[in-house]
Amino acid sequence: MSNIRADFPFLDRKYAGKQLAYLDNASTTQKPGVVISAVVDAYKNHYANVHRGVYGLSQEATELYESVREKTTKFIGAKSSREVIFTKNTTESLNLLAYTLGQRLNGGDEILISDMEHHSNIVPWQMLVERLATNGKRVKIKYIPINRQGELDLSNLDKLVTRKTKILSLTLMSNVLGTINPVSKIIRVAKKKAPALIAIVDAAQASAHMKIDIAALSCDFLAFSAHKMYGPSGVGLLWGKAKLLYDLPPFLGGGDMILSVTREKATFNELPWKFEAGTPNIADVIAFGPAIEFVQKVGFARISKNEMDLTKYAVERLAGDPLVEIYGPGNRGPVISFNIDGVHPHDVASILSDFAVAIRSGHHCAQPLMDAIGIPAACRVSFGVYNIKEDVDRFIAGLRKVKEVFKLNQKSKIRILNRGSSRLRLDRNNHRTNEMSRKAQ
């Protein structure tokens, strides 16, 4: 992997005399030099607004911007670039869908998601339900539960999907457990029972690790982000079937999303620009092009081999430690969540940070999943194309330090973190919603 590491300038910087062992790739990835220089080049040499100027520079910027749409189209196997919309992130893509699809829902309709979703695939639907409720429409969100292996429990899928299920929105890979979900199978089963159902795939976590093929997924919409696959932050993607996008109302109104505007009314632009109101993130979209090329050049076979070798190695090292509890499935991507018995994840991450090892700690924007597992928080390591075995070794050495600091080798029994937590209890009683409570005197 040595030549790949040379592509990433973040490794030139030293922390406490060491290269950073960056193990938070599920959150965001570092950028290769080609992406960084593409941002600079876009601003230096090709910057003007897109779709507007008739002068040469604006046309140049427009061509570069649109060429990345073409690249993205091919990257996911879409039929036409009209179906590919630039947003600012997966969150915005999913909000766009909740907002626009939501206008078609009726009272009694159901939305089906899962206990494994990122907040970005939960909260927009909850907000939609609230909006519809103020119009007297009662729409329900249902959750596919998880089983003890940290996989979606599909044994009751038949009952969860009803003829009233209008939207199914699922993550392809869990950002916490790394679980790769059998999304295409679920969609096929669900559509048999509810043919009018719209199937959405959240590919934010998956897109850097496995080939995305929208035909194989048999979905209607797919959302992902550039920044999780070595591209710039501030660029999200939404793919949708042209026929569906054509029928949907716009999301945001403003410049570039219209054909004409009178005092009374606007005629909306063609696809995909109908959904791209205002000046977009031009330079970062342009720099997403080299990110796609980078991923394609390395290839998913090599990316996956490196990441999964490291995942297997790290799981083996962790599993040998009786104080470590690993959450999640056999069929996982390069993401491992775990806890050290009795030590809070924030304390683990703080101490590892002192050894230039970057891991994530907390609820990972997936509190319903944390509740389902029965833990308040977890540590998470996640791998990228530039990670090496030494990163794992330094991470494991850091964990030894954590245990030293907390004197865990002395069998100290800690009661606080373990208070009332039973593993993988399927209990969604959310006791964290009351910001404040007051008892009567």
Partner: protein, 121 residues
């Protein structure tokens, strides 16, 4: 690392005033937005004084240790004195350097205690 000195670890391992007191006159839940961790403080307040205080919760060593130390500091104090406690005071008794990312953990209990004023008016 300096933060995890012996005194802090002792408070984390054996927190003072941990548990629920019966007949609390005021209960305040406080959530750490960074991680969703939660502490609950129980107070017995009479004559504008904190007669008794305890807490429960899930949290990191920093938040548990500060809750423990803070509960000890405010026990028996008047509400007026307690209302004047600042983040600087908390950092002073914590002793070590707290990274910006961990300030929320260090101030979780203080945020809870600061609500006493609004809730007892």
């Amino acid at each position: 690392m300096d933060l995890y000195r012996e005194e802090i670890l002792e408070h984390w391992k054996n927190p003072l005033n941990f548990g629920e007191i019966s007949n609390a006159s005021l209960v305040i839940d406080q959530i750490n937005s960074l991680c969703g961790d939660e502490v609950t403080f129980y107070f017995k307040i009479a004559d504008k004084k904190i007669r008794d205080v305890s807490f429960t919760g899930n949290g990191c060593a920093i938040s548990i240790a500060t809750s423990s130390m803070l509960s000890e500091k405010i026990k028996g104090k008047s509400l007026k004195v307690v209302s004047k406690l600042t983040g600087q005071d908390v950092l002073k008794f914590l002793g070590g350097e707290v990274a910006p990312a961990r300030l929320k953990c260090a101030f979780l209990s203080l945020e809870a205690v600061r609500k006493i004023g609004t809730l007892t008016k």
